[in-house]
């Protein structure tokens, strides 16, 4: 073990490098963003599912939607209260949540995710 020193130094450098992001960002946690609702969304009071569910699971729900619509041709969504919605990201979700910057982007940026929904789906379809 005549290389003991070299190994230890190497290990120390490695650990320092790999934990660097944690040290660098310590104490600098950004506050969770507040999302803004459009007037339309406020008036509706509740989304297709309860707010807590939507916050946690909207991506899974959208995944179910896209699967059912594109692959099964089933387009009607009926929630627990029996209310019906057209399963369409553009025409239902983004019609109400037509403020991409203040609603979608804020949270996605905070969580550092970049879903590519908007590469194809057009937000604010009615152009208000």
């Amino acid at each position: 073990m005549k290389d003991k020193k070299k190994i230890l130094v190497g290990l120390a450098v490695f650990i320092a490098a790999i934990t660097f992001p944690f040290w660098y960002n310590m104490g600098k946690a950004a506050p969770a963003p507040e999302v803004e609702l459009t007037a339309k969304a406020k008036a509706a009071k509740v989304c297709v599912m309860p707010t807590a569910y939507m916050q946690a699971n909207h991506m899974q729900l959208l995944d179910v939607w896209r699967h059912k619509v594109t692959r099964n041709g089933e387009r009607m969504f009926v929630n627990a209260d029996g209310k019906m919605f057209n399963m369409s990201l553009s025409n239902t979700c983004l019609d109400c949540h037509s403020n991409y910057e203040q609603f979608c982007a804020r949270c996605h940026n905070y969580a550092s995710v970049s879903p590519y929904c908007w590469d194809c789906h057009i937000d604010n379809p009615k152009g208000e």
Binding site: K68, N72, M76, F77, V78, A80, C120
Partner: protein, 262 residues
């Protein structure tokens, strides 16, 4: 010493692999199923068929001017980029062709002149036995059992273009670049596509789901009929009974669902 260190590294490596795979396995276990308290259904107005089919009465479509509004209606409603200059990157869902390009296996040297000079509408044939579906490695293109439409799931397409090689009708286009700058007038109710995926005619699945006929059918002034191939009282079956029709390359056994009255 040497041996046990190697052993340790081997075990560590395998464990790291196992830990890495766990979230994937969890995701599989959690997949599918309907969420808390909701269910999904067909829309009330949705139109149904065992196999949607189209009959194009080419006698009523004598010139390019007759076809133009039909092609435009489709491309407009589906956000098809029509202003791409580079012909290599062209995208088309429905387009005009000469008889001898449309029916390569039925080109007599001496043809009925009115047929020979008539323009023909080409689009995806929504084959009953589609080779593109057979080729797709991810089921991104699939034949919908509910109504026989050959559809694309743009979320899943990896852009391998195997389906383009498999299609004997040239019905498929690939997004060689971002199509958005080349869409003349965006229909905001319908998505665009992103670069890197294949696209083609969808028999207006989104319109059938809300009780509307396909856009080209609506724009054709009755020259194009649309209906269920396996309902003997449907409009298409009535037309097929009364008229002699041809299909493109039917010797290949793909069973196209688009028929032409010449």
């Amino acid at each position: 010493m040497n041996n046990s260190r190697r052993r340790f590294l081997q075990i560590a490596g395998v464990s790291a692999l196992g830990l890495g795979a766990k979230p994937v396995l969890d995701a599989f276990a959690a997949g599918g199923g309907e969420g808390p308290g909701f269910h999904v259904a067909r829309g009330e107005d949705a139109l149904d068929a065992k196999q949607w089919a189209m009959v194009i009465d080419t006698r009523q479509l004598q010139s390019s001017a007759d076809l133009e509004p039909i092609v435009e209606a489709c491309h407009k409603v589906h956000n098809v980029p029509t202003t791409i200059v580079n012909k290599n990157h062209e995208i088309k869902w429905i387009w005009e062709a000469h008889y001898h390009n449309a029916f390569t296996d039925k080109t007599n040297p001496f043809l009925n002149e009115s047929v020979e000079h008539r323009p023909f509408l080409l689009l995806c044939n929504h084959c009953e036995n589609p080779p593109c579906v057979r080729a797709c490695p991810t089921k991104a293109t699939f034949k919908r059992e509910r109504d026989g439409i050959v559809l694309m799931d743009f979320h899943r397409c990896i852009g391998c273009r195997f389906c383009m090689a498999a299609c004997p009708f040239g019905a498929r286009s690939f997004n060689f670049r971002d199509p958005r700058p080349f869409i003349q007038e965006t229909n905001k109710q319908f998505p665009t596509r992103a670069k890197g995926v294949v696209e083609k005619c969808n028999f207006c699945a989104e319109r059938l789901a809300v009780g509307k006929m396909p856009a080209c059918v609506e724009a054709s002034n009755g020259a194009i009929a649309f209906g269920d191939l396996y309902d003997e009282h449907s409009e298409v079956r009535e037309l097929l009974k009364e008229n002699y029709t041809i299909r493109r390359k039917q010797t290949l056994g793909t069973e196209p669902a688009v028929y032409y009255i010449v």
